[in-house]
Symmetry: C2
Subunit: 298 residues, 2 copies
Amino acid sequence: MTVDIRRYLDEKREEVDRFLETIIPDAKTPPTTLHEGMRYSLFAGGKRVRPILAIAAAEAVGTPSKAVLAVASSLELIHTYSLIHDDLPAMDNDDYRRGKLTNHKVFGEAMAILAGDALLTLAFELCSRQDLMDDLAPTRQVQLIHELAVGSGNLGMVGGQVLDIQAENRDIDLATLQTIHKHKTGMLIRASVRMGAIAASATAAQLGQLTAYAEDVGLAFQIADDVLNVTGTREELGKDANTDAQRGKKTYPAFHGIEGARALADQCVDRAIGHLRAFDAKADPLRELARYIAARKN
Amino acid sequence: MTVDIRRYLDEKREEVDRFLETIIPDAKTPPTTLHEGMRYSLFAGGKRVRPILAIAAAEAVGTPSKAVLAVASSLELIHTYSLIHDDLPAMDNDDYRRGKLTNHKVFGEAMAILAGDALLTLAFELCSRQDLMDDLAPTRQVQLIHELAVGSGNLGMVGGQVLDIQAENRDIDLATLQTIHKHKTGMLIRASVRMGAIAASATAAQLGQLTAYAEDVGLAFQIADDVLNVTGTREELGKDANTDAQRGKKTYPAFHGIEGARALADQCVDRAIGHLRAFDAKADPLRELARYIAARKN
């Protein structure tokens, strides 16, 4: 192993956190309650998996993380908004997230809805800033914004969330489960890797290989998430465990058993790494990230 | 009067509606419920004021509406999402909008939140399409996206919505009311006019004059809205009347009386039209729009 993945994750997470701190208004900027609410969820201890995937994809193509921090961070703004809205009483009605009270439990439902809307919008505000992306050709910047919108919108993440809600307490088949996950989780992970690659001026061939990598990693991520929901403790997860079964959600362990699901995740990781065979050691973080994502404990 | 404003509004509204129809998935495209929900509110009979302001601004600079339809329509996607979220039980808790049940009354709260999120995201997806904007320089396209994000985000429309909620049942002064409205309504109207102008390659001087116009029109729009809330009937408004007073919201009529507020709106219109003195007859629709916005009955 050429990369200490724990150390890599820590370093990149800190880089992303420092950057996010510079682009989000402090809690004294009016409207203060809104900015407090946005910061509360954004700095609640997220692992920054999506920004780090974007950074690692850029590095695989030979571009340092510094050049893609804005692009990478926009993905975390989208991810954070989606968590705030998912946790709302009308949706999953969760009280805890990452070991802390959910946004609406602290700020109320109205403010949580608006903090989510504001984070979503800020992602596009960030990606459309010209001062932060002066090395990037404007056509590529437009392409990045489009990737982000498609990955997170009605045919991407939001669409997957709709399918997920509709599947609760229904007897869905494996193909339906795969469609749900492909959209709910997969499309934004795919966008993360692609945005890092596009920002790094990847060739069409590189972008194709990285996209294939991202699709397998996205699937591994979701299978691991489903397994953790069954096997993880409340302490490990920072939220209630075994909630899928309680909500009548069918998941990978329900179809394949715990061990079968784990084996499936491992196969995805192998396939993902296989797609990177044309890349040199600069893609090692991406390779280790795939392994980490399938084996993580939270 | 050189422009029949009623006819102009009808023609442009139809152009916008036809365009929107081409960019939003039909109700048979999965996830069907989501697309049904998005369409329900988007085609609920909106006046398309913001897209038409963008179109009229582009025409004032000499660019035909056809060239800016995508940009103009993105504003309606943002406006529609904001109405869906504003109507939610946790926010204004409205049952009717434009004479129809509100989105969450038909589709449920979860789906209404997601339809709003999807419309918001689709606005940026639309503005970042390269196929629809091939006449536009990519730097201008990025600038348009940035205008839209700033106008609708934490320091724009969403920020204003937060201030508005916080002001309910509180004894605010006139300066606070102005700040609320400047953000909640004004910033997106400002963005509408500016986006039309930028898409039409306005000069810096033209953009400055059109921005000044937009700021006065935004204020007139909000004052007229406040007056209508008091004087309009349920039939005229398509929603409950006199709701501001019931919610303990202080509005322009509360500070100036009905007649005083009307006079103030008229002054804004005069100022707005004054900012257009350097423009020729191609700006007549903008001039008439300002008058229409202050005098409208719904």
